[in-house]
């Protein structure tokens, strides 16, 4: 049996090609992450039917929306709900009428639509704001209304394009956990485009990492966070992840730096280690010439109880040190330091061959 969401999306536009296969089962929340220009928005727009497919197919909840045969199902006939970063609530309609717009457009009567809308506003905790115009709502309130509006049409597929990105940190934090609850109660598949590692970890149960239009990695949030296969995700989750070649426990990075690990592996690998595993010193460390870099401090910023140091060592490295040692080493931008990491702290995992 084919999956609930079965999509193979190929979109060619100018010099850019998006080629992504996506599958999902009811209740799944798929986070799509990747750098700007990796095709996240195009993917969402293609699923919604706002961008035509060059090739491939999309089927959801047993309906074929697009395939090689026949014309694609128009946007308004696909059961998708879309939540935008900037909400895009209709400015001339009250919160209630914004939410009632969907049911009404899909054939429900006025009274029934409003009842459905009122129920959804109440579920999102903004039932008392039903009569307000969007201009009278705060960012967090407006995004709740926007989510209610998307869910009120009972979509088979819910698409959320960076829904929390435009909100204040504190507001986003509150809404994030509620969103997580609503998405887990939602009976369809949710696709969440995000730039935020926390969104990915708290809301999603599956992560798709896009890079230059293709899937670089798929996995659970834990898998992706612990074993990132792109530097973008490594940065997002705050890990050092370096590509190289491993033979036994000897790893040679792309730039020739030798590493020693405690995990034997043969082939292309990622070597990753947390910033806290990196020790900094001013003098060249004794012993083996492995697992170390000479670099220049780029920035020094507080990070929780520690101090996060960004280094340029031919590649970007991040190190967390105590405020005491930051002072002792007088770490300021431009300072030359040595960075060392213990072999036992380095996680080695196979890198998927790059397309």
């Amino acid at each position: 049996m084919s999956p609930y969401l079965d999509a193979d999306i190929v979109v060619r536009r100018g010099g850019f090609t998006l080629d992504v296969a996506l599958a999902g089962e009811p209740g799944q929340v798929i986070a799509v992450i990747g750098p700007n220009g990796s095709g996240k928005s195009t993917l969402v727009r293609a699923l919604a039917g706002l961008v035509p497919l060059t090739d491939g197919h999309i089927a959801c909840r047993g309906e074929v929306w697009d395939d090689d045969a026949g014309t694609p199902t128009q946007v308004q006939r696909r059961n998708v709900g879309l939540v935008f970063q900037d909400q895009l609530l209709f400015p001339h309609l009250s919160a209630l009428d914004n939410v009632a717009f969907g049911p009404r457009s899909r054939g429900a009567g006025r009274t029934q639509s409003r009842q459905v809308a009122a129920a959804w506003l109440a579920r999102l905790g903004v039932g008392d704001l039903a009569d307000r115009r969007p201009g009278q709502l705060s960012g967090g309130q407006a995004q709740r209304v926007a989510i209610a509006r998307a869910l009120a049409t009972d979509p088979a597929l819910l698409l959320l394009d960076e829904p929390l990105a435009s909100l204040d940190v504190a507001v986003a934090m509150g809404l994030r956990f509620e969103l997580s609850r609503h998405l887990s109660e939602f009976g369809g598949v949710s696709v969440l485009v995000t730039h935020d590692a926390i969104d990915t970890m708290t809301v999603a149960n599956r992560v798709v990492v896009l890079d230059e239009g293709t899937i670089a990695q798929v996995g659970t949030p834990d898998e992706v966070a612990q074993r990132p296969r792109t530097e973008h995700v490594a940065r997002l989750v705050g890990l050092n992840a370096l590509r190289g070649h491993s033979a036994g426990t000897d790893v040679t990075l792309a730039d020739g730096t030798p590493l020693t690990s405690t995990t034997p592996f043969d082939g292309e690998v990622f070597a990753s280690f947390p910033p806290a595993a990196v020790a900094l010193s001013l003098d060249e460390p004794f012993g083996s010439a492995r697992n170390r870099w000479r670099g220049t401090v780029r920035s020094v910023v507080p990070h929780g109880a520690a101090v996060r140091v960004h280094l340029d060592a031919g590649r970007a490295l991040i190190a967390d040190v105590t405020p005491a040692s930051a002072t002792q080493l007088s770490l300021v931008p431009g300072r030359r330091v040595w960075a060392v990491v213990k072999a036992t702290e380095i996680a080695i995992y196979g890198a998927a061959a790059k397309h």
Binding site: V75, F84, F101, S105
Partner: protein
């Protein structure tokens, strides 16, 4: 530590009361003078009109059947022209604002031509198209339909000159209004007509009302195209501006009275529409 400047300021400030405003918002003298002259150019002729008008004759002139006919005809034809603008101009503005097709900017240019065309040329053009021996006028005449020198011709002339104002105004509003709202409506299941009716139209409403006001005002003052294409027959084609012109030939006092009436009607309509609807819709 007090400097001499501080002292000077201290000495001066009690006498000055509230402090002078920052100079940023004040106009420099060399701009102020031309600004005042510009204002005078606009205001002085109207003041002269008001000063010279024989106000005592006003009630009498208002009950004059010729004046009443002309006033009624002006309001009626202008209103009809606005109905036509709404029915034809709204879809045209929508097409120009929302549909991507080759030659769109050319079409936009064509729409604006009547805006800069001398009205008398517009009248000649209309006559060439719909006159008794015109391109379309001749076949229409064979069908028993005569357009020139009828009230219909007045409405056509008014529509011809007012439609560009309306279309430009509405198209601007529709283009400024976020196109993304149409996409949102589509994802919510609305078909294109529903989207137009419930989203595009209400969001463009301030522009539509502004377009109607502009068009109505333009239509109310229309003279050249009307007299060329529709003639100057009291009761059927003599609108207020034509009546003013006719009166000016014989009795300049009457022309003054009619002019003032037209001025008052124009100002009345503009202020009514602006204050009551324009701003409410924009809010």
């Amino acid at each position: 530590m007090t400097t001499s400047d501080d002292v000077r300021r201290d000495l001066r400030s009690p006498a000055r009361g509230p402090r002078a405003k920052p100079s940023v918002g004040r106009a420099p003298g060399r701009l102020l003078l031309p600004a005042l002259v510009g204002l005078a150019v606009l205001v002085v002729p109207l003041l002269a009109l008001l000063v010279r008008t024989p106000w005592a004759a006003l009630p009498e002139r208002l009950t004059d059947p010729t004046v009443q006919d002309a006033l009624w005809l002006s309001l009626l034809t202008s209103a009809l022209a606005m109905v036509v603008c709404l029915l034809l101009g709204l879809p045209l503005a929508w097409v120009l604002a929302r549909v991507d097709f080759p030659g769109r900017s050319l079409l936009r240019g064509v729409v604006t031509v009547p805006l800069v065309l001398p009205p008398v040329v517009a009248g000649v053009a209309l006559l060439t198209a719909f006159g008794r021996n015109g391109l379309f006028g001749a076949p229409l005449r064979d069908l028993g339909i005569t357009i020139p020198f009828t009230t219909t011709a007045v409405v056509i002339a008014h529509t011809f000159v007012a439609l560009p104002f309306f279309v430009i105004s509405v198209e601007g509003a529709m283009r400024a209004g976020n196109r993304d709202y149409d996409l949102v409506a589509a994802t919510l299941g609305a078909d294109r007509w529903t989207t137009f009716r419930r989203v595009t139209f209400p969001l463009a409403l301030p522009g539509i009302i502004a377009g109607l006001v502009l068009g109505f005002a333009r239509s109310l003052g229309e003279f050249g195209a009307t007299i060329t294409f529709a003639g100057n027959f009291p009761g059927t084609t003599q609108t207020m501006p034509l009546a003013v012109y006719s009166e000016l030939q014989s009795d300049s006092d009457s022309a003054l009275v009619l002019s003032v009436i037209l001025l008052l009607v124009s100002v009345l309509i503009l202020t009514l529409l602006r204050d009551r609807w324009l701003y409410q819709a924009a809010r």
